[in-house]
């Protein structure tokens, strides 16, 4: 956790953002670009061309050593031992009660080496948990938050733009894979990951190289309409793609089974005789989810134009509370307000009628739909 009194941290690209006229916002103790001009145009750039993001606020930790794999299988809910070198996986850190402390991406960069990427707001929690859980394991946990800047190029034109600047074989780089290479002459871990619902890449590189690589990407992508993009459109992009955001769809009050992400919990792990933090509580949560289904995360699409926000009640036509909105925004792609919400299982089936959101005292009709709202054509 960042102390409330601590001054905001600035990324290696801070001057670049300011020279581009970005509206900056405080995000998890970092001063980050919210938008450069119109967040809707930035959103559309990623959907139709390509967008360039500074994500250097994300928290990177390197876990290495002979027992690195065993440590991660013990600390996280996934099976990281089965992850092949050069691949990435989405997983979670849970507490003893099965509550979600963070959702993260783990890259296996070598046989005995992993890069863990945590949400900025939870980076301190993740580091503390990894260090505590490392006791007794022959593995090291390194705080690499200052080692990396993180840029993302996302959108249908991303691969073509990046290909002009790298020696890496992008054609062979699959979704959720990463390999070392150079980008505009700078060493980088090039990963085919993202949080936008589009094809794209995340580039982990030295902060000192970040401004030059950022500019090289903008130059290389100028003809394709590559657009600097802020966190505002990143949020609407991930919402359309039905991707959860910690603090909204995920929290310590929920287990992965409550969040509809029970598939990420692997009870059968070869390491540590299957032991991992939260195992017992998560087995109970899995059984509970079978016998008494919890609220279900659904998509809501507005019939009208008023926008639902996190915390608003989902109600029936007679005002009975059915659930709660976790994220909501006007969807640039659908042209209508959309939301994700946890809704009682009986009202969670797509097509369920008579569902409304209480928007500051007015019941606005919404359609229940399956997630995601948007899926790119492959």
């Amino acid at each position: 956790m960042t102390e409330p009194s601590a001054p905001p941290r600035r990324t290696a690209l801070d001057e670049v953002h300011r020279s581009l006229g970005a509206t900056m916002t405080d995000f998890a103790g970092w001063e980050m670009p919210l938008r450069y001009a119109s967040e809707r145009e930035e959103h559309q750039a990623v959907r139709t061309r390509a967008g360039l993001f500074d994500l250097s606020h994300m928290g990177e930790f390197t876990v290495s050593g002979p027992a690195a794999c065993d440590l991660l299988d013990y600390a996280f809910i996934g099976n990281l031992g089965s992850l092949r070198t050069g691949r990435a996986r989405y997983t979670m850190l849970c507490d003893e009660r099965g509550g979600i402390l963070d959702d993260l991406i783990v890259y296996r960069t070598a046989e005995d080496r992993y890069l863990v990427v945590a949400n900025a707001a939870n980076a301190g929690t993740v580091l503390a948990a990894l260090r505590e859980r490392a006791t007794g394991f022959d593995a090291q946990v390194a705080d690499d938050r200052d080692t990396y800047a993180l840029l993302a190029v996302q959108g249908p034109a991303a691969a073509g733009i990046l290909a002009r600047l790298t020696d890496a074989e992008l054609e062979g780089l699959r979704y959720y894979a990463g390999l070392p290479g150079t980008v505009a002459g700078a060493e980088a871990l090039i990963a085919r990951t993202g949080y936008t619902g589009e094809d794209g890449f995340e580039l982990f590189l030295a902060p000192a190289d970040a401004p030059a690589v950022w500019q090289a990407l903008l130059d290389a992508g100028a003809g394709d309409g590559l657009t600097p993009c802020g966190l505002s459109c990143r949020d609407t992009l991930r919402l359309e793609a039905g991707m959860p955001l910690y603090g909204h769809e995920l929290s310590t009050a929920l287990t992965p089974f409550d969040a509809g992400l029970g598939r990420t919990v692997k009870f059968e792990k070869p390491g540590n005789e299957g032991a991992f933090v939260g195992r017992e509580a998560l087995q109970e949560a899995a059984a509970r989810a079978e016998s008494a289904p919890p609220r279900v995360l659904v998509g809501l699409v507005a019939q009208g134009r008023r926008v639902p926000r996190a915390g608003y009640a989902v109600v029936s036509s007679d005002g009975t509370v059915l659930g709660e909105v976790t994220s909501g925004a006007p969807s640039p792609t659908l042209g209508k307000p959309i939301a994700m919400a946890y809704v009682d299982a009986g009202h969670a089936v797509p097509g369920t009628e008579g569902v409304a959101v209480d928007i500051r005292g007015s019941r606005e009709p919404y359609n229940v739909v399956a997630l995601p709202f948007y899926k790119r054509e492959r």
């Binding site: 509206t23 938008r35 119109s38 967040e39 505002s232 949020d235 008023r306 926008v307 307000p337 500051r360």
Partner: protein
């Protein structure tokens, strides 16, 4: 964008035109529109409604937030801008022109005397 000299301004970031035959036009400033981001929905009072200076009379929704709309003056709403209801982006693209919001026939007491001049508002808004 500079704040037009011929308008007066409220500390809630609305602008008010010089009344013509007792009717003034009201909108939000470029500064307010920039702070909101892309406006996606506006809820305006209805023609015929009575509004009171400093009271909320509508809403402006953007991607990230919703803000109350305040009336800077008291009086009767004579007209609302249907163009901006249909295309809320006008608030961002032309806040002082095509993005105006509604018109009010001022009460006989006239506009409150705490409204700001363009220069005073510019100092107020940039100091925020």
């Amino acid at each position: 964008m500079s704040n037009p000299q011929q308008l007066r301004y409220s500390k809630e970031h609305e602008w008010l035109s010089e009344p013509v035959d007792g009717v003034a036009t009201i909108g939000i400033t470029a500064h307010a529109a920039d702070a909101l981001g892309d406006v996606v929905f506006v809820q305006l009072p209805d023609a015929g409604d009575t509004v009171s200076a400093g009271d909320t009379c509508g809403e402006l929704e953007s991607t990230k937030s919703v803000s109350d709309l305040y009336s800077p003056v008291s009086g009767e709403v004579t007209e609302v801008n249907q163009d901006v209801v249909d295309d809320p982006a006008l608030v961002n693209s032309a806040p002082f022109e095509g993005g105006w919001l509604f018109k009010v026939r001022l009460d006989p007491s006239g506009a409150p005397d705490d409204l700001l001049s363009a220069d005073e508002y510019t100092a107020f808004a940039t100091g925020n």
